[in-house]
């Protein structure tokens, strides 16, 4: 399977570098480049990439707004992987809340860059669970909304699986831990995502942290 990537960054040198790294992989190819968030939605419609690598800070339309527009206006949108210079960038969490599926440091090792793209496209496990937990900890609401995820009506099994997803476990790993089949896990995960109205694992985990269902300091999630 060949994965198509759209690069969005206002710095041409970041784009050309990432393009060289991605195009060097046999299963990945860069379909196009944009230098601002404003161009993302039309380009996605035209090129149908699987993953969009999106810079957060851009002059006219930033990565957060571009992600929001993309997800609101395109059917079956691609996964958004947010690019950031700094790990502790407040915008990154904003972008995740806006619907991005993961984030990647620009200084990441090339192997990590291509792994992140593949992982995101597969949607099978959470990218950088520990980093997401840290971001969630810094942005945790002072008081979790009353009721947490009660309204979602998760079964005990689904709640358990949501916690394991937050730890970064893949379906196969969850299956091994709960001693059930991978197919069963897949079904449970699908139910969790539907009940939380989440398009992927990242969004489900962000919601879980935000609602206080999982607290970032929860010892149960330290496996991430």
């Amino acid at each position: 399977m060949n994965l198509g990537v759209l690069l969005v960054d206002d710095e041409p040198l970041i784009r050309s570098g990432l393009r060289a790294i991605i195009d060097a992989e046999p299963d990945l190819s860069v379909l196009g480049e944009a230098d601002d968030g404003a161009a993302v939605t039309p380009m996605v419609r035209r090129l149908r990439p699987d993953v969009v690598l999106m810079d957060v800070r851009m002059p006219v339309v930033d990565g957060i707004e571009a992600t929001r527009r993309l997800l609101a206006n395109v059917d079956d949108p691609p996964r958004v992987l947010v690019l950031t210079t700094f790990e502790n960038d407040d915008y990154v969490f904003e972008a995740l809340r806006a619907g991005a599926s993961g984030f990647l440091l620009k200084r990441a090792h090339p192997d990590e860059v291509v792994r992140a793209i593949r992982l995101l496209a597969a949607g099978d496990s959470l990218l950088f669970p520990a980093a997401i937990r840290e971001l969630a900890a810094r942005h945790a609401p002072a008081q979790a909304p009353a009721g947490g995820l009660d309204s979602a009506g998760l079964t005990d099994r689904e709640a358990q699986i949501l916690r394991l997803i937050a730890q970064g476990l893949s379906n196969a790993e969850i299956a091994a831990q709960l001693i059930v089949s991978a197919e069963t896990v897949k079904t449970h995960v699908a139910h969790v995502l539907t009940k939380l109205d989440a398009r992927d694992r990242t969004q489900a985990v962000i919601r879980a942290y935000h609602s206080g269902f999982i607290t970032p300091r929860d010892p149960y999630t330290n496996g991430g």
Partner: protein
């Protein structure tokens, strides 16, 4: 005891003035005028002098052991309320010192005389003081009194210094307005340093990101794509150099911070800024309308910085293109607009408008609005700042 020493010239002068006047206006009037002039007006005038205040602060810290914070002097001016407070302190210091000093001098001989009174035959004068005590055993009562008086003097001196120590911070310390001004200046300086630190963080982070990505890419394609690798090396070199230049620049600013406590530039300095920008080869057309003098200091200095940063950005990203600057001071708002043609031949390179972040931050802190972006072949930045917090 400094007070005692300080009182001497005033007392001596009083004596001279009184003696000089005695012939003309009579004894009582002469001494009255002399005391009023030399013991009240003159010390007050002395106390108002700024150097005297500084000396008194140093003396109070050293001798009374009190913590008196020295107000930073704004533009070399000491406010009148501060002058009056230092004068009050100086008079109190001189009076207390004078009284205790005099007592210290006259008391010992008086005590000795008093103790000899029960054994004397005639009237005994108390040292050089006027009252006399009749000699003989009938005056034995005065001995314990005389022996207690030095102790009382010590207590008096201790009490007086305690009292002075108590009022020192109020009379010598900064007034609430001065304290507020000091705190505000600290806050402004801190904010400025934070901003510089963030700019540095952004620009060096940006440069290093490019270096990392390009180096990774070059490593991946080295065998297959030598021209790309060569170009990557050039870009790495340029980015690293730019990062170092920014680092140097900001560290220089931070180092100069102490020296740069000189008045912050305001819109009044705009002409000089425009002239110095022109001297770098950039064609700046500036049009100013409205009264710049009416702009509050904070808004004025921030607006100056915004113009400065916008000009720098224009020079950095567009090169030597003509820049037009419009500044209008209205009744409630200040509006400034800076436009320059976009140079299509130059790729726009910037990490999401680093300079723009700084401007955005300044504008937000003043509750203004900013719009920036390409418009009809031009880069345009427009800023609107309220002149008053409520407008």
């Amino acid at each position: 005891m400094i007070g005692a020493a300080l009182v001497a010239p005033y007392v001596t002068l009083t004596g001279f003035v009184a003696l000089a006047l005695e012939g003309g206006v009579g004894v009582v009037a002469a001494w009255g005028v002399a005391i009023a002039a030399c013991c009240v007006a003159l010390p007050i005038a002395t106390g108002m002098l700024a150097p005297v205040r500084a000396l008194e602060i140093a003396a109070a810290r050293l001798l009374l052991g009190v913590e008196v914070s020295d107000a930073e002097v704004i533009h070399g001016e000491v406010s009148w309320s501060t002058r009056w407070r230092s004068a009050a302190w100086f008079v109190a210091h001189v009076v207390v010192g004078g009284v205790i000093g005099t007592l210290t001098v006259v008391l010992p001989p008086a005590v000795v005389s008093a103790c000899s009174a029960p054994f004397a035959t005639g009237d005994v004068q108390l040292g050089r003081l006027d009252p006399t005590v009749p000699g003989g055993p009938g005056s034995a009562w005065i001995v314990p009194l005389a022996l207690l008086s030095p102790v009382a003097l010590v207590y008096l001196a201790v009490a007086a210094s305690a009292l002075l120590a108590r009022v020192a911070p109020r009379l010598l310390g900064p007034s609430p307005a001065e304290q507020l001004a000091t705190v505000q200046r600290h806050a402004v300086r801190l904010a400025e340093r934070n901003r510089l630190a963030r700019e540095l963080h952004d620009s060096v982070g940006h440069a290093l990101s490019i270096v990392t990505v390009q180096a990774s890419a070059a490593g991946r394609v080295l065998d297959r794509d030598i021209p790309f690798a060569r170009q990557a090396l050039t870009d790495i070199e340029t980015s690293a150099r730019n990062g170092l230049r920014d680092l140097d620049h900001v560290l220089g600013l931070l180092r100069d911070d102490a020296a740069a406590r000189a008045p912050t530039p305001t819109l009044a300095d705009l002409k000089r800024l425009v002239a110095s920008t022109r001297s770098t080869g950039i064609d700046v057309t500036a049009e100013l309308t409205g009264r710049i003098d009416d702009v509050p200091h904070v808004v004025s200095s921030e607006a100056y910085r915004i113009v400065q940063e916008s000009l720098t950005n224009a020079a950095r990203h567009a090169g030597h293109v003509p820049v037009s600057l419009n500044l209008n001071v209205g009744t409630d708002h200040l509006e400034l607009e800076l436009t320059n043609p976009l140079d299509a031949s130059r790729p726009r390179r910037s990490g999401g408008g680093r300079g723009l972040n700084g401007i955005q931050e300044r504008v937000t802190s003043l509750r203004g609005q900013v719009t920036a972006g390409p418009e009809a072949g031009h880069w345009r930045i427009a800023v609107r700042l309220p002149l008053h917090p409520t407008s």
